[in-house]
Symmetry: C2
Subunit: 192 residues, 2 copies
DNA sequence: AGTAACCTACCTACTAGTAGGATGTGCGCC
DNA sequence: GGCGCACATCCTACTAGTAGGTAGGTTACT
């Protein structure tokens, strides 16, 4: 299936570029150079840049949330579920040539310059992730693994922001190891 | 002093554009349109875009950290210091036509596409903010306002990432009010 | 006279996107 | 089986618009 392969290659290159420098730093020419296909051919698969961005967000969200659901529904200890969830963000930073952040964190910064349906996709991604995190925290509280005051959903939103922000911030200094220590510190706050 | 005024107006417009859509969404033409000056005249004050970005980062960092130092050295209760510090991020979201995030949070996403000295300025900003936060937390711990396990510096890094990430994430949904509730929730975790 | 500020007019490079042609590849039809 | 049609893929070659940046002139203040 050479059709799908090219389309996938385009999306892979686009995603890589966006995770490293944002949507505005990704151009059809860059993709063209990266995978050895003519610029016009990319337009054949994705008529406009907005279509391409939308498709990449969609694919990313589906893939990411699929893994997250696997973690949520696993038999792991809630604390380890949280560790594994945070590990997804840490792993992204190590991937490939390094310094890739979460796609939707990157695009969150450029939200105002994005099309409305791309923005909607990102909003959805945020909501879905916070909901999953809330489930992990809820379960952890019930089982006595977490002890904290306040609303589970708020703590979920807090941790999500911390991970998205952390993935961006630690690229300046410390990298994935630093993000990891921040996650462990956060878990300490939730346990006592 | 008409000289300084124009220079300031350019920096103001540039900062506004960057806080809303990032450095790549800011162009000399946009600034030109915004403040009614010719594109070439901007080059008279800031020869290259990199110079402009650097200058804006520098000014922002100095201004922001000045306020932060005022908070750190004030006679406020440590918990209120933290509230006031977080309030700076919340206030940015409300400013002007709304949905402006912290400049250095925005540029953190585009770090890879920035010049080396702009990147150094951002790194510095992160470090300085975390250091100030750590002082607030340390003081709070000594005075018995905060009770948490683990390293103060790590918690500082955690809160900073939370605020930078939160400022980006809540623009998609909830806005400054949502960030505020997240901050209050975080304080709860530190007090128990 | 010198200089800072600002202008018009221009340059090159790159952006997203289009037109239209070449090459295939599968499918019904005789 | 061979023929031709339709469609997908990918190409070369182009467009208009915008990016950052420059050359060189005008104005005005010191």
């Amino acid at each position: 299936m050479p059709t799908t392969d090219t389309k996938t290659a385009i999306m892979d290159a686009a995603q890589e570029l966006m995770q490293r420098g944002g949507a505005n730093a990704m151009s059809y020419q860059h993709i063209s150079d990266a995978i050895g296909i003519r610029k016009a051919s990319i337009h054949h698969h994705f008529p406009t840049k907005e279509h391409l961005i939308e498709a990449v967000i969609q694919r990313y969200a589906t893939y990411f949330l699929g893994i997250v659901d696997g973690i949520v529904e696993s038999k792991l200890d809630p604390v380890d579920k949280l560790r594994k969830y945070a590990g997804l963000f840490e792993a992204t930073l190590c991937e490939g040539k390094q310094d890739k952040a979460c796609l939707c964190g990157m695009l969150g910064a450029e939200l105002a310059t994005l099309g409305s349906s791309a923005a909607a996709g990102i909003r959805h991604f945020y909501r879905d992730n916070e909901a999953r995190l809330a489930r992990i925290l809820e379960e952890g509280r019930e089982k006595g693994a977490f002890h904290f005051k306040g609303d589970t959903k708020l703590v979920a939103a807090m941790i999500f922001s911390l991970l998205e922000g952390g993935a961006l911030v630690v690229r300046a200094e410390g990298g994935h190891k630093r993000l990891h220590t921040m996650v462990e510190q956060t878990i300490k706050l939730l346990q006592r």
